[in-house]
Point group: C2
Chain length 545, copies 2
């Protein structure tokens, strides 16, 4: 950057702040965080190797930030506050900014310049850590607690706060003045009000899965595992807390108490329908109950707990556990509106992202699925985990097997472990954990054929590159199929029902977020007469000059 570039950057900041002020904003941010802004880059000797007054000493590296903070402060006047977002630490040790050294020094140098300090850790994967890697609220405390001791200005911080106790503790102990909570507010935009009104058990707690972040990374509409209305408030008119009253007095039968069934039952109950929820197992939750037992996924149980707790309080909901319905049972019940949420099961034949047909020889080996492992199937000796799913399950199963003392080889056609978790900011942490645990990692190879005790694998780029991997136990994690036998049997007599719809994984296996969304959507549309498979929604219309 030339001096002219720097002058331009300063001017653009001032002009942007003035525009924001004219547009009516009360707070304007100056930003040095997430390893993504020029101001933070100027602070870091890793990036800033200038020889002039903007490089070298810390004073010089902070000069641009000081100038912009001062100029923006002057530009917006005193009816508008200037907040400064600053990452005190990058969790990179000596390769990055550290709270115990320059991170602290920078806060001291700029202490009184902003009106509000907004402090966190960097990069985004550390700031928005998932529950798998940061299970506790307030996990940034060790890096930001010092800030209040160096400034008289108010301080706000984050840490996936979802409970009033944890928030109050931060304030009472003098660590923060204001609680920031982005993901928890995505999961429940009414979080502050529910705390204010002592409605604690109505809080939809963020589970820290970063599906919201993934939507950003794949340039798709935002989704939230806990809050299916997220992003649909304007597009479909879905309010996070209110829902249209029932269209009729018809009772509704929901079959299956997993994520889709629970959400559908809850929202139908909120609409005033008389809801019968039939669950084949002895507990509610379906896949989230099972998966929350896996290493790192405990928070998924919140998807069940929030809904089960509210459903148990509803007078218009009957829950039947241990209640596996046949098609004849359903017909006999005579309920005209039926949602089938019987979930999905992992395939046993190896069909997944890479294999369109059953893997050659799969019938000759005893392959386990994740369902088998979660059901307690015996795992012995060296375990070969074949991950052609690429999201959470492969590394969770590998971790579980290592915890139990098995030698584990994690094989995937992707070039990295758990490739899809790149979108949830977890990939590097997952692969590091696998290496920490001593899991053998084999990437960019697919299974070509199976024989008892060994897999012939082939390089995904070149079929001449082949090798053999031995195993005692093989776990195939490839894709899932709907458990829709009941739905298909009912579909054959569709005329008996006013509504008959498969929802969630039973309709199309996907993320928990997708199942919750589908259950919610089915409940919203029930009785509306709309084609719920092709909902119209509001769109921004471009106007060209």
């Amino acid at each position: 950057m030339s001096k002219r570039d720097i002058a331009n950057l300063r001017r653009w900041h001032v002009e942007a702040a003035q525009r924001a002020r004219r547009a009516g904003y009360d707070i304007v941010y100056v930003y040095a965080g997430h390893d993504m802004t020029m101001l933070q880059h100027f602070m870091k000797p890793q990036y800033n190797q200038r020889g002039d007054e903007y490089g070298g000493s810390l004073e010089n590296r902070v000069r641009l930030t000081r100038e912009i903070l001062t100029e923006v402060r002057e530009a917006v006047g005193h009816e508008c506050a200037v907040a400064f977002r600053f990452s005190t630490d990058e969790l990179l040790g000596e390769d990055g900014l550290q709270a115990e050294s320059e991170g602290r020094d920078i806060v001291a140098m700029l202490a009184e310049l902003p009106d509000l300090w907004d402090v966190n850790i960097s990069g985004w994967e550390n700031d928005s850590a998932t529950a798998r890697f940061e299970p506790n609220e307030g996990y940034q405390e060790a890096y930001t607690a010092f800030v209040k001791s160096l400034t008289s200005k108010p301080v706000v911080g984050v840490g996936r706060f979802t409970s009033a106790d944890a928030m109050v503790s931060q304030v009472r102990r003098g660590l923060l003045d204001l609680i920031g909570a982005a993901r928890p507010s995505i999961a429940d935009p009414f979080l502050p009000r529910k705390i204010d009104e002592d409605r604690f058990d109505e809080i939809r707690e963020c589970i820290g899965c970063n599906i919201c972040v993934a939507a950003d990374n794949i340039v798709a509409p935002i989704r939230c595992t806990q809050n299916p209305t997220q992003g649909e408030e304007w597009k479909q008119g879905w309010h996070p807390e209110t829902i249209e009253a029932a269209a009729s007095d018809d009772p509704v039968l929901v079959i299956g108490g997993g994520p889709a069934g629970l959400e559908a039952a809850l929202q139908l109950a909120n609409r005033g329908y008389a809801v019968t929820l039939a669950e084949a197992g002895e507990t509610l939750g379906g896949r989230v109950s099972r998966e929350s037992e896996l290493p790192g996924l405990a928070s998924y149980a919140r998807v069940r707990d929030y809904r089960e707790n509210l459903l148990r309080q509803k007078a218009n909901v009957d829950i039947y556990l241990g209640n596996r319905l046949s098609a004849d049972d359903v017909v006999e019940l005579g309920i005209p509106q039926v949602l089938v949420a019987t979930g999905a099961r992992w395939r046993r034949d190896g069909v997944g992202r890479t294999h369109y047909f059953a893997i050659d020889g799969v019938g000759q080996v005893e392959a386990l699925t994740p369902d088998d492992v979660m059901d307690g199937a015996e795992v012995s000796g060296r375990v070969l985990v074949y991950d052609d799913d690429h999201y959470l399950m492969g590394s969770c199963i590998a971790e579980l097997c290592r915890q139990r003392g098995h030698e584990v080889c994690l094989l995937t056609p992707a070039s990295i472990v758990a490739a899809w978790t790149d979108y949830t900011l977890e990939q590097e942490k997952v692969q590091a954990r696998m290496l920490d645990l001593g899991v053998e990692i084999v990437v960019s190879q697919e299974i070509d054929s199976l024989r008892p005790g060994e897999a012939e694998i082939v390089n995904v780029y070149h079929e001449a590159y082949r090798q053999t991997l031995a195993f005692d136990t093989l776990v195939l994690i490839t894709s899932r199929l709907p458990q829709d036998e009941l739905y298909q049997a009912l579909l054959a007599q569709e005329e008996r029902f006013d509504t008959l719809r498969a929802i969630g994984d039973c309709h199309a296996p996907g993320t928990v977020a997708a199942a919750v969304y589908d259950g919610h959507s089915a409940a919203r549309h029930l009785g509306s007469g709309e084609d719920t498979y092709a909902p119209l929604f509001n769109r921004e219309l471009p106007a060209l000059d």
Copy 2:
């Protein structure tokens, strides 16, 4: 998909076609190509494993396409044509559709249903193959030539056609009726007119680099290596063929005849300026002349040839080769408007995507850069190519060294070879070629330190995983630095000039496309008084209901 889903899909196709017709379109497409449409997916047994009348036999797998073609044909009336895009082959052998079997059968089955056959190969990486992997025009001929023999309807096809001879040959030999050319039209929207008017040497030929495709894949505004006006026609009012007349009679000096300098000189000449182009070397082209000598990159020479040819015909352009100017020389010339396009050189210290500082021990080993190799430096024995750049250079240097008989190890911190070429649809082909050539590939490892003859490398995910790689020759391909000594010396006496600007790699090392764009932009803005570093441009403004 249920039968209702299928009925919906058919209805949506019809409704969409009717909307298109109402909006005034003359041709509506039905699409079964690029492995991305439902119709193609229904055709493929790899995806379609249905047991009903839409699965099983080829007749059944084509049923949905036949229905939709028929229904869309009926829906749009006879003032609108229905074209059918169909990929006859997927280049997957028995794992995909093949032109010699079902691809051909499908054309025969649907022969007279569409008004126009638009045929190609699939997926996108085969259809839009780069020049590196498909150097010749008409490379799809072997897969689409049969189509005309099976239908009386006109047939259009593609194959990166840029020359009239190749196009005419297709028509004369009865292979195609119409020539499709998307990328060549991006490079030159006036391609048809220039052929029509016998202005062949004014055609800006597509170089087949797929930078246009990369923009799509990274969700960025489209760019073209050859045509810098692409995507700027409305945003900035840049016409591909016309440009504003000179703002003054001042002469202009362009220093450096690489991509940025050539484009700037050409457009300044088009504006009517008296242009002096000074090039230190004995030939024009700069980096594209050097890089076009590498395996697979020959087409980059077109960036030079198109511009040099036109510049040589201009009366208002003086080209000086072998003319290395010092700052004193430039001052002495007394030309008030100066653009400095002296390019960039590869770093020798290992600083790149992964290393922010010089690699430990780099001073103790004799490391080559790509510039050294292109300049003919001696390469001996086992070559370790360290690619921390991740685009073209690493695999091209590796290929060159293998061609010369060296043992080659290609080491990269990325998890795949030439990771950035994923965006240009080349990555799988690059990695396959490396394996074909017997290059040893080491991924997800960075160099931790260097000693004579060996590199200690460390896993990018976990510092405990280390190993040593031996080499006789080390090539470091990490990042580039501007060759801007002349520019900096002139900047110290900036007051002598009306315009003094570094352009292209000398301003900011990047792609050839970025350099051409920067040279074009500088020529457009020269004398305008606008701040060319922050151009305003037209944007779509959303209007909310």
